[in-house]
């Protein structure tokens, strides 16, 4: 028993529950003292749940120990610069300061939560396979659909957090992130948030979709809705602090000779992503906070009866949530640009343009939010400028595709094709479909028809799979040997790819097909007369096949962790510095610092060199 409570994660969750109960008790007590009702349909009132949630988050962090060094600083005590982790698996459950450990914490948590998000999707997809309601109630359907959306968003944020944390310090030759404690904090704050998010299912669910538009979200008298807002608000802080840390790291801690245009593309993509998550995330936090306060204190921000404006919520919300999709895809597209030259043995075409296109997408991304609102009743004159700004995003994205095509052109690809390369090519193809289905949604005339149909669902699953899922898997297969010293099984990897890719195309094209024919999104059932049922069945089967392929991936991951082929060297024949030292990476990264002496992607050019390691420490 004592051993279990020495694990920080367990201790933290225990403290989280204690904090929740104390917070509830305080609010219930105050309400009783004021003569107000203290109990509600969910044991106590919403106020008590929200305050308990806040307090529980803080007690989790304090009990877990991730803020330990800060408490010492506040007391005026000095701490050592870098704590050594004890060898073994325990470090993954505690407040490690090593960016590699934190990166793996992010990625593994992301994968675990991905199982949950995928399961939600399978459940409601099964319901949709046949017309009529078979085994779900509409409220349950809504909850599962909303949870699938928000949980998968958390998965993506965790996944990119994992890739950026693990890779960026290695790629730029830093010994760690600029603020290791903040880094650890930014990861661990997600854990209590995830608990709140999942708890909302037991507290009445969320029925608004992940967007949580008022007035519906403000008027739904269920506590689950409130816990959802609280959870997203807390996850937002992880994004903000992670982005901050990453920008500072890249600006301040690059190796000697690594000028801006000698940085790896993935670092550029991470910078672009972090700029968005640093700034725009605050707006979703603010908008959700305002709905929370509207529910708690009756502040009338989005209540027309009190002079409020529901469209204001949509503006604030999409000011984050549109740029957020670029947060999701930019690191993935960076991975594609990173891996492609390695596997085709050719220089990356148009390095500078690719670097700038990431920033371009991020900056244009700030000016396009209202394209989600063409049908919302906002001022009509706003539609056309937002249409043009949205279409402008296609330009930097096109630059990326042009570069990838030109890089592959006449490249020498190994036969059989290594799994990471398969997923890279898969990412390009899937994202191409996602990109091409974008402009019809951006154009006002067509969007008025397409808005809120399954076409949109197909489109964004394409962009998310092409921009995140495929590159994420590519990165996992590619850097797995770096992290573990073992290689993932190639055969299982290929089964994963060849099962997932065709199923995915069937799924998303099927969604688009019924969407064009008028299938609405977010609904639990559809009219038999519309004749969508066969296609819904196909989509559901494809969905199960994708789940099966991901299962193969998990089997591969666990099996390779135990008995994968030992690989300690540069198995992909990469020029990148992290592959030039032995795997797995030592705790403080490079024993000898390196200096950048050439261009990063000059594959296949005789005598070219990217980095040179110093002889001595």
């Amino acid at each position: 028993m004592k051993k279990i409570f020495s694990i920080p994660l367990i201790r933290g969750i225990l403290w989280q529950v204690i904090g929740l109960l104390i917070g509830m008790g305080i609010v219930a007590g105050i309400r009783l003292a004021m003569g107000l009702p203290a109990t509600g349909p969910y044991l106590v009132t919403e106020h008590a749940w929200v305050f308990g949630g806040f307090l529980g988050t803080l007690t989790f962090l304090a009990g877990h120990g991730v803020m330990g060094d800060w408490f010492k600083w506040w007391r005026g005590e000095a701490t050592s610069d870098h704590h050594e982790d004890k060898p073994g698996w325990e470090k993954y459950f505690g407040p490690s300061l090593d960016h590699k450990v934190i990166g793996i914490q992010y990625a593994v948590t992301g994968l675990i939560v991905m199982i949950l998000g995928g399961t939600f999707a399978l459940i409601f997809r099964t319901e949709l396979a046949l017309e009529g309601m078979q085994f779900l109630k509409p409220a349950q359907y809504n909850t599962l659909m909303s949870m699938h959306g928000i949980v998968m968003i958390v998965v993506i944020l965790l996944g990119i957090g994992g890739m950026m944390n693990y890779l960026v310090p290695l790629l730029i030759g830093a010994h760690d992130m600029a603020f290791p404690r903040l880094n650890s904090f930014a990861f661990w704050i997600v854990v209590p948030a995830a608990v709140w998010l999942l708890s909302s299912m037991a507290l009445g669910g969320i029925e608004t979709g992940w967007t949580g538009y008022p007035p519906l979200s403000a008027n739904m008298k269920i506590v689950g809705q409130q816990m959802f807002f609280l959870a997203v608000f807390i996850v937002g802080w992880s994004s903000v602090l992670g982005g901050l840390n990453l920008i500072v790291t890249v600006v301040r801690m690059r190796a000697k000779g690594m000028t801006a245009f000698r940085m790896p593309i993935f670092v550029w993509a991470s910078i672009a992503t972090s700029l968005i998550s640093l700034t725009a995330t605050q707006l979703i936090g603010l908008s959700f906070q305002m709905v929370m306060f509207q529910r708690l204190f009756g502040m009338g921000f989005f209540d027309p009866a009190k002079g409020g404006n529901p469209v204001l919520f949509q503006h604030l919300f999409w000011f984050y949530s549109h740029p957020a999709v670029y947060v999701f895809i930019l690191p993935g597209l960076g991975i594609v640009s990173e891996l492609l030259p390695v596997f085709v043995r050719k220089p990356l075409f148009g390095y500078r343009w690719i670097a700038m296109s990431s920033l371009g997408i991020a900056l244009v991304g700030f000016l396009v939010w209202a394209h989600h609102m063409f049908t919302s009743g906002m001022n009509e004159y706003l539609r056309v400028p937002f249409m043009y700004s949205t279409l402008l995003v296609a330009v930097p994205t096109g630059v990326k595709f042009f570069s990838w095509t030109a890089t592959i052109w006449k490249g020498k690809i190994d036969n059989p094709v290594p799994t990471p390369m398969l997923f890279t090519v898969g990412a390009i193809l899937v994202f191409l479909l996602g990109g091409l289905t974008g402009p019809p949604n951006a154009t006002v005339s067509t969007d008025l028809h397409l808005h809120d149909t399954y076409w949109i669902v197909g489109h964004f699953h394409d962009t998310m799979f092409g921009g995140f899922m495929f590159p994420f898997f590519a990165a996992l297969y590619y850097w797995f040997p770096k992290a573990t010293g073992r290689r993932m099984n190639e055969t299982l990897g290929k089964i994963h790819f060849w099962l997932m890719t065709p199923s995915f195309f069937v799924m998303s094209l099927g969604m688009m097909y019924i969407g064009l024919n008028g299938m609405r999104r977010r609904i639990a059932d559809y009219d038999p007369a519309l004749n969508f049922q066969p296609m819904h069945l196909v989509i559901t089967i494809a969905g199960y096949l994708i789940a099966l392929s991901v299962l193969v991936f998990f089997i591969n991951l666990i099996a390779s962790l135990r008995n994968g082929k030992v690989e300690k060297g540069n198995l992909w024949n990469s020029r990148s510095p992290e592959w030039l030292v032995e795997s797995p990476m030592p705790a403080h990264n490079y024993e000898h610092p390196f200096e950048v002496v050439g261009e990063p992607y000059d594959y296949g050019l005789a005598g070219s060199k990217y980095v040179e390691f110093a002889k001595h420490k």
């Binding site: 506040w74 005026g76 901050l244 920008i247 700034t279 707006l283 305002m290 009338g300 604030l316």
Partner: protein, 256 residues
């Protein structure tokens, strides 16, 4: 830049900037009661913000060259400074979002508030910024006593501001029918002042920790990043109020 100056002229500069800010605040009030131009008020607020950002927050330090040993205190301070400013940039989006909401929902109306009290709390916060600057300048020149006194006065003034806004203004506003759950006017007023007051409160706590550690002799002339961080954060809170004050008290007509 600040280090090249001797202590007397650095303190003198602080006084001068505080006087400018006070004059501009008076001018703001005069504009509001006489010919009420949003344009002029915006320009004055921007000028005040620029003065605070440059002379009190020393934004130019971000640009300082500190090459060399990455493990040195100077280099780490530069890294910390960049991190703090990025955090403030992020925070700016919260307050920016609140300002956008205020103008979207209320337009050219404003809540019925006590003008005298508004001017007083604004001056208190400005004065606290002045003493904060004094405290930071003192420690940068090795004067621990001046630093401790300055920090203490800043804290007291910060608490004064909190009492003025949360303790007095909230009650007075309620009497004038600015009520949380009555209409959006009340909602916006309490949301904006509440969010700002929360930042003031965290700033006071931050200052208290700095003051306590300062008494233990934790900060020196060369190594006082904690003081600088608390100061920059404190001035940022002041800077936010530079925009919130006209948005809540001066711009537009009193709404019902």
């Amino acid at each position: 830049m600040s280090h090249t100056k001797d202590k007397a002229s650095a303190l003198q500069q602080g006084i001068l900037v505080a006087v400018y800010l006070a004059v501009l605040t008076g001018l703001e009030f005069f504009v509001a009661v006489s010919f009420m131009s949003v344009m002029v008020l915006t320009v004055i607020a921007l000028v005040k913000a620029a003065l605070v950002a440059y002379y009190f927050m020393h934004i130019y330090k971000l640009n300082a060259e500190n090459e060399g040993d990455h493990d040195s205190y100077e280099y780490k301070t530069g890294t910390n400074r960049l991190g703090l400013w990025l955090f403030l940039l992020s925070d700016t989006f919260v307050f920016g979002g609140l300002l956008v909401s205020r103008f979207n929902l209320l337009g050219m109306e404003r809540p019925h508030l006590n003008q005298t009290l508004g001017l007083i709390v604004t001056c208190v916060l400005l004065l606290s910024s002045f003493f904060m600057n004094r405290a930071e300048t003192s420690i940068a020149h090795g004067d621990t006593k001046g630093f401790l006194n300055g920090t203490l006065i800043t804290m007291v003034l910060g608490l004064g501001f909190l009492i003025g806004v949360v303790g007095l203004e909230w009650r007075l506003a309620k009497l004038e029918d600015v009520i949380v759950n009555k209409d959006v006017m009340g909602g916006i007023f309490y949301m904006m002042t509440g969010m700002h007051a929360f930042h003031v409160l965290t700033g006071v706590i931050f200052l208290f920790l700095v003051w306590r550690n300062g008494r233990k002799g934790y900060f020196t002339q060369e190594q006082h990043w904690g003081v600088e961080a608390a100061a920059v954060y404190w001035h940022f809170v002041d800077l936010v109020w530079i925009f919130f004050y006209p948005a809540l008290y001066l711009i537009g007509k009193v709404g019902l």
